[in-house]
Symmetry: C2
Subunit: 395 residues, 2 copies
């Protein structure tokens, strides 16, 4: 959000103030009206007006009194966690997941539909079905729909520019969903969404200002949060590290070039190297195959170990380049490759340590995300909340 919008009308000023107050309540609540005024630099009258409106809308509630600083103990306010729900969708490579997510990232209901090879219009039909099911189950006012999906996404326009496995090109998904369901929609790359989810709902206690989330799954991609904001880049391609070439004249990549990071660090790459390229391990087989590889890995199979640890080192090299460029200390790994566990993570860490300036590397914390939550669903929902309510995800 720019501090200097191009042209602010009176109504926009009011909306700006509402967002500022909500952001303050969301990040710091329970908090008093006086404290909100101090923190937002708004007058007490403005804060009281805005809060009255938020109480009417039942977005905010009073939750008792805080410590007195001399006079009467002030009434404390907070955002009601389940005042609104978001329909979060994860258009994954093997299944689509829909969920009802509240303002604190709690999932109230979740469903999963296997894609079973559908693409194009058939895949779009699946998206509609999933939204309809969520609408039936929603027992609270809905804020909108947040969609996380692989591929290159123009988040400002809500357009999927390129999603290779669903055969979608320049699909205006946000407009389609907005017209069909009459709800605001945000569409975001799933790796970007995951970073936002980890930032917004992941850490308890103090949030880091900056973090990098790296997905090593069927594909490889990253999401970057900097100063509390998701980094989109000039063309919404920030985080597309999976298609940076890391091996000169390497294996062919699905993007059409050779030697991309995905060809050496993804789950797909691990399977290719174990079974020989060209083997079909798409769709339903791949999880089973990855499970077998993991068993062999844990048994100490030398060939599997070599392939998996090499994948970890390649990922570490890419992370080292990001740390060198951005000096971000918190790195969170997620995706199916993380199930190879500590030895794989150690290979990532070791390569990061070897490849970055000691002064920078010593403070870097590389961990694996909690596998229990659907990060794409949560992150896409968080983005929708930000766009609709200004609920920030800044500290």
């Amino acid at each position: 959000m720019s501090l200097l919008p191009t042209k602010a009308t009176h109504r926009q000023t009011r909306e700006f103030n509402v967002r500022l107050v909500l952001r303050c309540l969301y990040d710091l609540g329970p908090v008093s009206r006086a404290e909100i005024a101090r923190r937002t630099h708004l007058t007490r009258t403005t804060v009281s007006d805005v809060v009255a409106g938020l109480l009417d809308e039942e977005l905010v509630e009073e939750v008792g009194r805080g410590p007195s600083s001399g006079g009467k103990a002030p009434i404390l306010l907070r955002v009601v966690p389940d005042a609104r729900l978001v329909i979060g969708l994860d258009l994954g490579e093997e299944a689509f997941t829909g969920a009802l997510v509240d303002l604190r990232g709690t999932i109230h209901h979740e469903e999963r539909i296997a894609i079973e090879g559908r693409d194009g219009t058939a895949a779009l039909g699946l998206v509609y079905r999933l939204v309809e099911r969520m609408l039936e189950r929603a027992e609270r006012p809905l804020l909108g729909i947040g969609v996380g999906t692989p591929g290159v996404i123009d988040t400002a326009g809500g357009v999927i520019r390129w999603a290779v496995n669903l055969d979608w090109q320049d699909l205006a998904l946000a407009s389609l969903l907005e017209r069909r369901f009459g709800l605001p929609v945000q569409v975001v790359n799933d790796c970007r969404a995951a970073a936002l989810a980890i930032y917004a709902f992941g850490a308890t206690g103090s949030r880091p200002a900056n973090l990098i989330a790296v997905k090593a799954g069927k594909g490889v991609g990253a999401g970057i949060v900097m100063g509390g904001e998701l980094v989109h880049g000039d063309g919404y391609g920030a985080g597309e590290i999976g298609h940076v070439v890391v091996v000169e004249d390497g294996d062919p990549c699905r993007c059409g070039r050779r030697g991309c990071l995905e060809t050496v660090a993804s789950a797909h790459a691990i399977m290719d190297h174990l079974e020989g390229p060209g083997t079909d391990h798409g769709s339903d087989d791949s999880e089973a195959t990855l499970d077998q590889a993991r068993e062999a890995f844990e048994r100490g199979d030398a060939r599997v170990q070599s392939v998996v640890l090499s994948a970890g080192r390649y990922l570490g090299g890419a992370i080292a380049a990001m740390i060198g460029a951005m000096d971000i200390h918190r790195v969170v790994l997620h995706g199916s490759v993380t199930t190879f566990g500590e030895p794989w993570v150690a290979s990532v860490r070791e390569r990061v340590g070897q490849r970055t300036l000691g002064l920078l590397a010593s403070d870097v914390d590389i961990s694996v995300a909690d596998s229990g939550s659907n990060l794409a669903v949560l992150g896409a929902s968080a983005l929708l909340m930000t766009s609709q309510l200004g609920l920030s995800l800044t500290r």
Copy 2:
């Protein structure tokens, strides 16, 4: 700047408002009081109060009347370009440069002192001498001192953590200068400073929100501006790409490891590869030697061509990794290696194209900075202006 400072007193609210108004005037002026109120979301009374103070301080001036929107034509205001001066210092590897810089980046006076091998306390003495000379020449009120210097810098603390060629370690330069001269001081890595200079004073017309400036000189480093703000990273190491390993078991680097980008892409590396490692081409000789290499390069000497273009490709690979991670479309190159001209730049561009996703690479604009201005001096001055006046460098 966070929207939610930890605790704002009444005085801090006033300072916040002054900065908001100044930022608006600096970025958009000439502009009317009414327009400032609309853009900053402050009341007209607050804006008038703040502007009255700024007129008293002669930071702002009235510059005629704008078009009427019905009533009386409004008085337009702007920041006086030379209302204040900053002492900008560039503690380069071969010489220290001092300059008096005004609020629009115009250099009013500049001096250069050769280091001649001095380091430690002797080098610090040179810094003091340079500041004293600038103080003698300043004919306008001074805002403070901005220092750009190679090495790892803690900008928040004003501490040079590591500057290998000056033999400075954990030198609290900001405190030393503040105590000696009674002026506010900002210290920033020279590559970061250069990025800010290009962003703040470089482009005419519309500024890009994001840019990467890459220095290929004696060392290699980058600076990143994102959303109009300089990216510092968690430990002020953002942009330290020169010490990311790019060649497995490569040549030894001055940082103590092997195969860092600096060992293949810097001016130093080019000389090493032409003359054999260990040859002394430090201090005064190096410019002459680089000139000779450039002549041989332009004559078409095959060995020199091969070394220089290889240096360009390595730099292109590092830039590709940054574009993959951040999707920034504007890349500006500077430093002595850029004097190899278009063939070298073409080798950088070619590698960027080969290594990044087509969808991203097609929009990338890689250019060479105007060599006429001292970017470290201008950027360090810009940072000081931002810290003292809140003059932003956002659009």
